[in-house]
């Protein structure tokens, strides 16, 4: 039988820096997660002085699955279904840059219609991801209607993706060389109709959530991330755009057909919690226009997939390609040694870089703002752990 005292002495010998709380301590240590309703598969320890957070220590890794190592034992096509597992509700984007990198290694050109369908699926999936994110943001602030509405409207895009790919969440649609299959009959009309309806709903979201005075009071001026700090910390996606830097991979280094699409990079200058929560919403609005353009400009017929040999392999070499996902730049660094299996695959995700900003932003905030700041960072724990 080891008592608590013995365990404590043992942990001291092991060199663990465990500090015990005493009754007259001014600081209280709180462990947030992984079973806390406001954390997800993620844990961070915070210390509070009264209502103020004075220290924050993120501790990711609860959902590490070794995706990168798994890639080394499968050939490039077999890798696709398991690579989308980190973000199953944004699975077209996470396989997009992988396909781009493999295409560069193998040296194949995707047909134009295939490129358009790819971009269309990726935009639809971005909406699914952002709606899910918005729903969680609503419930984190205690707004239960804002949890139910986006989760319901998410079905619009999930239905479209189901018609397009055959699966509701894990599509495995992007493959090296193009997409798996062509779009079904009548898809364009249905897509336009549902996107129009969704644009009306977005106005209602703005009325009930973003224009609500209580929401504004809670988020405006909270946890400001300045432009300089955003650059120093290397945050990505909506977080960097909320700090006044209009950086979007779709504009900065256009992939596939994104240089033929006319769209604006949405950004805000304040860098506070409100800006970080509003930029994804603006992205959703812009995405609706992109979807309509893609449907208009798409070639009416043609191949959607380039012919590939059964076990595609390229010459020894390396490739790095990235796309703009729901959470920022998502890049793949693939090294090939000339065999069908990749020698090394490294996934670079926006989530992890955004998580690094958490300790800097949380210190000095109130305990009540902890979920608002945490989720405004557009962080998906499973993707960060990979």
């Amino acid at each position: 039988m080891t008592s608590l005292e013995d365990k404590f002495e043992e942990s001291k010998k092991l060199g663990l820096q465990i500090v015990r709380e005493t009754e007259d301590d001014r600081l209280m240590t709180l462990s947030v997660g992984p079973q806390h309703p406001g954390s997800g598969h993620f844990r961070f320890t915070i210390k509070v002085d009264g209502d103020y957070i004075v220290y924050c220590d993120p501790d990711p890794g609860y959902v590490h699955r070794g995706e990168e190592k798994m890639c080394e034992y499968r050939n490039v096509i077999q890798n696709i279904p398991h690579l989308e597992r980190p973000v199953i509700h944004d699975s077209n984007n996470i396989t997009y840059s992988y396909s781009l990198a493999i295409e560069e290694l193998v040296g194949i050109e995707v047909p134009r219609r295939g490129q358009y369908i790819r971009a269309l699926a990726s935009e639809l999936n971005r909406q699914v991801y952002t709606l899910y994110w918005l729903a969680i943001y609503g419930i984190f602030l205690g707004h239960s209607t804002m949890f139910m509405w986006p989760t319901g409207d998410r079905e619009l895009f999930i239905d479209l993706l189901e018609a397009l790919t055959g699966a509701r969440v894990t599509h495995a649609f992007n493959i090296p060389g193009g997409v798996r299959n062509d779009i079904p009959d009548g898809f364009k009309d249905r897509c336009v109709r549902q996107v129009r309806y969704f644009q009306k709903r977005l106005k209602e979201y703005e009325d009930i959530f973003y224009n609500m005075p209580l929401f504004r009071q809670r988020t405006e001026g909270v946890a400001v991330l300045s432009k300089e700090d955003a650059v120093k910390l290397g945050v990505a996606g909506s977080v960097v755009r909320a700090s006044g830097i209009p950086y979007d991979i779709r504009k900065a280094e256009p992939y596939d057909i994104y240089n033929e699409i006319d769209f604006k990079v949405q950004y805000m200058k304040t860098g506070d919690c409100f800006a970080r929560s509003y930029v994804p919403f603006l992205d959703m609005k812009e995405s609706c226009y992109i979807i309509e353009q893609l449907l208009d400009k798409m070639p009416q017929s043609g191949e959607v997939r380039a012919k590939l040999q059964p076990n595609p392999k390229g010459p020894p070499g390396e490739a790095y390609r990235r796309v703009e996902s729901g959470r920022g730049a998502l890049g793949y660094y693939v090294v090939s040694d000339g065999t069908p299996k990749p020698y090394r695959v490294k996934i670079s995700v926006g989530s992890f870089r955004n998580m690094l900003a958490l300790p800097y932003l949380l210190v000095g905030q109130k305990l009540a703002d902890m979920p608002a700041v945490y989720w405004s960072l557009n962080y998906w724990p499973v993707e960060a752990d990979r």
């Binding site: 709180l30 309703p37 602030l141 205690g142 319901g152 609500m212 809670r218």
Partner: protein
């Protein structure tokens, strides 16, 4: 997507009801009657309405139900009926139960959902019973290191304190458990116990998140107690009495006080939302911030009792709003002076004034409860510094403005004894 129960048949539903009634009849005849006879033979009962309840009289009652009416009439004048039935705990608990169901359906419609559907076949009306059975069946987990007597006592104290508030509220003329001259003062005195219970339970849980929740509850309730009392004070100035029945009477003599004191009614409404810990003031139970606040370590029926208590409290505060601002039971007469019933003549039990008063009081209370449920669908949670700022700076100022309005009405000779608007 299955939106409606597939196997619903109206005939089956009626059939099951008839079977249920048959079984109840059989059980009553085989078990209930012998039991009652044993009791009546061996225990002498006091005479009710000049009659001693003997087995013979009881049998005649079974044959001719109209003979029970004097006894029911006698029972309705006892204190036990007031405490246990109307306007006491049963009435409050019934309204609380209906509130829970209506809240779930109402919120579901607002959020484009369906809400409870399957339990009870018709729109899930028995969902609450199912939830209650589940809570009773669950294990009650007491955290190690918890202060056990306090941990067990707090939920019971919470419900009984909520019921104590109900006891002071008049629901119809003459129907009030405790008709004291300091009724309003007593209500606020009892409401002052709630932060204490929350903090004691939080401390007894021996856990960090409940403790933070308890402290939040304390801060919040103290910040809103003062505007709460001040807003009710302007009503006292207008009516000149602390007796709740007297307040209703003075509104019947003039007009409802909400027309003179709209700001006060608004302050009272906001403060009662904070007192009830409802969204946007549910900081003590803020789920995403501090797990479940001071309710984190509750489980099973302890949670059930605390929920029941909070809904009884909702009824009590809504009823208080009706009494103070909406004229209590006042309303146009809709019932006939006499009623004729075909088989059993229940005319001696029927009181036109009381029936009308109950109807209007229940309708108004329900309206106020719906108004209290509404913010849950449209509002996010407020932060504690904004909450304290609202309580200490804004609501107190508004309440004071309305005290001056009330004083001006009294000294201007518009209301009060011999005022212009007093009928």
């Amino acid at each position: 997507m299955a939106t409606y129960p597939q196997n619903f048949r109206f005939g089956e539903f009626v059939g099951s009801l008839i079977w249920l009634i048959l079984w109840i009849l059989i059980i009553v005849t085989l078990v209930g009657l012998p039991l009652i006879f044993i009791v009546l033979f061996y225990i002498p009962l006091p005479p009710i309405g000049n009659q001693v309840l003997t087995p013979y009289l009881f049998l005649t009652m079974m044959v001719d139900p109209s003979r029970t009416i004097p006894i029911i009439h006698q029972l309705m004048t006892t204190d036990l009926f007031r405490v246990a039935m109307f306007p006491g705990f049963t009435y409050a608990a019934l309204i609380a139960a209906v509130t829970i169901f209506v809240e779930r359906k109402f919120l579901a419609k607002m959020q484009l959902r369906i809400g409870p559907l399957y339990a009870g076949k018709i729109e899930g009306i028995f969902q609450l019973i199912a939830d209650g059975l589940k809570l009773i069946a669950k294990e009650i987990i007491v955290p190690s290191g918890a202060d056990k007597p306090m941990f067990w006592a707090a939920p019971i104290m919470f419900v009984s304190t909520a019921a104590a508030v109900v006891a002071l509220i008049p629901a119809a003329p003459g129907y009030v458990v405790a008709d004291t001259d300091v009724g309003l003062l007593a209500v606020f005195a009892i409401l002052g116990f709630f932060p204490l219970i929350a903090l004691l339970f939080a401390w007894a849980s021996n856990s960090k998140y409940p403790f933070i929740g308890g402290l939040r509850a304390l801060h919040q309730m103290i910040a809103f107690e003062i505007p709460f009392i001040l807003s009710a004070l302007s009503v006292v100035i207008l009516s000149g009495t602390l007796n709740l029945t007297g307040i209703v009477d003075s509104q019947i003599q003039s007009y409802w006080f909400i027309f003179f004191l709209p700001i006060s009614a608004f302050v009272f409404y906001i403060s009662s939302l904070a007192e009830l810990e409802r969204i946007p003031f549910d900081l003590p139970e803020a789920e995403s911030e501090i797990v479940a606040g001071w309710l984190t370590e509750t489980s099973g029926m302890i949670y059930g009792l605390l929920q029941l208590g909070s809904y009884v409290k909702t009824y009590a505060l809504a009823a208080l709003f009706v009494v103070l601002f909406l004229g209590g039971w006042a309303g146009p007469m809709v019932f006939p002076p006499q009623i004729q019933t075909p088989i059993i003549n229940i005319a001696p039990l029927y009181d036109q004034q009381a029936a009308n008063a109950t109807l209007w009081f229940t309708l108004k209370t329900f309206g106020v409860i719906m108004l209290m449920l509404l913010p849950r669908g449209i509002s996010p949670r407020i932060r504690i510094d904004i909450l304290l700022h609202t309580g200490w700076y804004k609501l107190i100022v508004l309440a004071f403005i309305n005290i001056f309005v009330a004083l001006a009405l009294i000294y201007g000779g518009i209301l009060g004894p011999g005022g212009l608007l007093v009928r």
